[in-house]
Amino acid sequence: MRLQLYTVVILALMAVLGSSCFDNGWGRRYQDKKPSAFVPIYGIDSSLRTIASASPQPTVAAGKIYTLGNRLYQVENSKGIHIIDYQDVNHPVKLAFITIPGCSEVTVRNNVLLTNNMNDLVSIDISDVSKAKLIARVPKAFNRYFFDQAVVARPAPSNVYYVCPDPWQGEVVGWKVEKNVEGAFCKTN
């Protein structure tokens, strides 16, 4: 019984000390309200979950590569994957482009692309490169995606404060302006 009382006292002390810490430290930061700021809207944009074959595309932001047989697969950062045949290594030919929004990774097995569509792991059958077919999707298998996005996603207007996107909350599908916003530490250029 005495031990329990002791525990209660310790816990109470910790609570008091803890709350005072917050008041003096992080608490005050979060009390720093902006009269008006942009706030991210989190959600799932289904239009960014559509995967399809397209004709060969120019390479602009060349990403990671994977090879199997005489084929080379190169990510076009955040857009999709170029499929290149290099049987004649002096004259490699782009065969097709697979549109995969938010793509950054690429691996291939048995004519199936294993890659990321935003933060989902996807299997894409490319037996016929002109008719890529999504055959499996594992949602939220690659949350790494949002760490990149958190740095990039920002509202369009310049010189405005916004709440920095939280990668753990997922996808930023838009922005709204709110009043008396806490935690709007980020600012556009």
Binding site: I65, Y86, V106, T107, N110, P167
Partner: protein
Amino acid sequence: MKIILPGRLLQLMLIFAVIASCSKDGNSAAAPDTANNGAGGSLARYTIVGDYLYLVDDYNLDVYDCHNLANPVRKSSQQIGFGIETIYPFRDKLFIGSTNGMYVYSLEDPAAPRLEGAVTHVRACDPVVANDSAAYVTLRNFGTTCGGTENVLNVYNVKDVQHPRLVRTVTMKSPGGLGIHQSALYVCEGQNGLTVFDISKGYEPLEIRTLKGKDYQDVIPYNGLLICHLSDGICFYDLSDPLHPVEFGTVKN
């Protein structure tokens, strides 16, 4: 623009949260079948060994059983650290690069990789490649957000994989992606070129030459070819003589 990421806070907290992995040694001791597989670059976060897909995000190593590609099944997920960036398979091991070190995992049980050894280094970006006796890691601070302070190629003795040991540090300009073919080591240095080392004396890489004129990001040595990921496309080199890559075609726009 000022950014204070909530995620950054979590990262700091996670440094202190050491999660012990408790993967059991399985009975399956089958060597990974890499013959049927292709190859990725050293900057990859996804890799396939045998029937399994391994992927790393910032903190975790996840394993998917891909016997049935129409139904990848997650077999395990373990927290391995923070700032994880790259994964590289060699024989029955995975070499994982993070912003503060290198981890070696055994694939004795391919569904549940087991940590065998690790080394820490200064904070920097660090892809890793390896052969039987050595692991080569590049650290750079050039043009990245990794907070690095050095531009070096580190050579680790991994014969005792439980205790990788730093045996050599080579100062470079801006080392990034890298690859091994026979006695040659290729290190991409962006616009500073592609540097070729002779590693026949494993722990004493000897700089042979630097190819210039392109923005080299990463390489895959594959079937006698060196396939280069450039910032604006790809290019191919013939590796008949591994220390003297000869250029083939280029694919840009």
